[in-house]
Symmetry: C2
Subunit: 254 residues, 2 copies
């Protein structure tokens, strides 16, 4: 059985711990956490260490800490020639200390502290220096997810930017929608089925095919009415203009 240890105790670390504990094909050997209490609700005390020197040999060390701490944590590990992978979407593999074999094990999902996730549906993006190390990463990834991808650092950078658009920016548009509802005495709930259907639609249509709305139809009258409606909402109005312009220009390219 393949042996994994996790370094870190944050959101991603905790979701990984839960996934490995429930996985018959992976043995979660140890968890390194600066404070034992951060993960003591998830793993038994004998598996938790607060001392790098007490990490025992495993097939894969996963560093699940904040982006800024990855380089330093990897340099503090008191061993070498082991396989050490980080779990970040935006940090190049090369940022890991070269004394160990480097890898990336990036689960592409937005994790909330208290919300359980079904890891089998989460894409895991892998990168390694050698084919042998890739095989190890792949075995571990396949054990918890059905969607495993070989993604190099340049692609991962692109993916992270794309994720900002479809996740962070999309959520910001939801916030603008919620704001408009609130200012007009309507519950945000009224928009939720539409939000769900919009996300659902692109599972069987490309976003290009799924595009609808005044900008897509070049319905200048409705666009003008909407901009008039937003005349006192400078920020939302500007976003409306920029996105409408972008959709209109896409239409012209066809």
């Amino acid at each position: 059985m393949i042996r994994v240890s996790i370094i870190g105790s944050g959101n991603v670390a905790q979701h990984l711990i839960k996934a490995f504990i429930n996985c018959p094909d992976v043995s979660l050997e140890q968890v390194f956490s600066r404070s034992e209490s951060a993960v003591s609700h998830l793993v038994s005390p004998d598996k938790i260490t607060t001392d790098y020197a007490k990490l025992s040999p495993v097939d894969l060390y996963l560093i699940a800490v904040s982006d800024n701490a990855i380089a330093e944590v990897s340099s503090q590990l008191p061993f070498q020639n082991q396989l050490v992978a980080h779990t970040s979407g935006s940090v190049p593999m090369q940022r890991l200390d070269h004394k160990n074999r480097s890898g990336v094990f990036y689960p592409l999902q937005t994790f909330s502290k208290n919300k359980p996730v079904d890891f089998t549906t989460i894409p895991i993006c892998l990168e390694s220096q050698t084919a042998a190390d890739y095989a190890i990463l792949e075995t571990v990834a396949n054990a918890i997810s059905k969607h495993v991808f070989n993604i190099d650092s340049q692609q991962r950078k692109a993916l992270h930017v794309a994720a900002v658009f479809v996740n962070n920016f999309t959520n910001h548009l939801y916030e603008i929608g919620a704001d408009i509802c609130q200012k007009n005495n309507m519950p945000f709930d009224i928009l939720k089925p539409l939000i769900r259907e919009t996300a659902e639609k692109i599972t069987h249509l490309s976003p290009k095919e799924a595009q609808t709305g005044p900008a897509k139809r070049n319905d200048t009258q409705t666009i003008a009415a909407h901009l008039d409606f937003l005349k006192t909402e400078e920020k939302a109005r500007h976003i409306y203009e920029i996105l409408t312009k972008s959709i209109l220009e896409n239409g012209k390219k066809l």
Copy 2:
């Protein structure tokens, strides 16, 4: 049993026809369509008419035609003092010809031609001139949906703008994500679980609470790296800048 006739044969008309046919509490009396063939796969020939003069008396006429045609269609109806409602999100109730009693019956959803919808989950926004007419609209709406709202024309205008943000603009962000994937040789599928989770998250958190990402964290280093990555993608870069700025400003307001 309450009797309804539908005027129109497009997307919304067809979805309403299907909903009423499967609904035991509403009798779909007739469908007016300029061409019989447009709806002949849905209703029996004796219920289809291509002649306004052949529309028989019912409790509610629903005009489900394109926004620009609503006023004209309502003026062509050869009867008066009947309840006539349109199904549009962006047309004021007053646009209907005043010879009949006016109403609005607006299902807030994005309809695709070939994709079945579960009407019980779709919010229906109602407006009328009198309480008696509201009761009729409400009876029909409750027969097909569990989410019925009293929404006046000014609120409906706001709702339509909000819907553009959470549906049309969100879909455009999906397209930018798909575009980035394609240009970097990755399948768009890799982003779909994240898209689903982003939409799912706001069913139990407000969008403000759900906001994550570099802009939310004021992570200027990652933002700079992303803008650098997008340096040859002028349009996506501009959208990245505007939405990042908006999220950053929201953060400062807290």
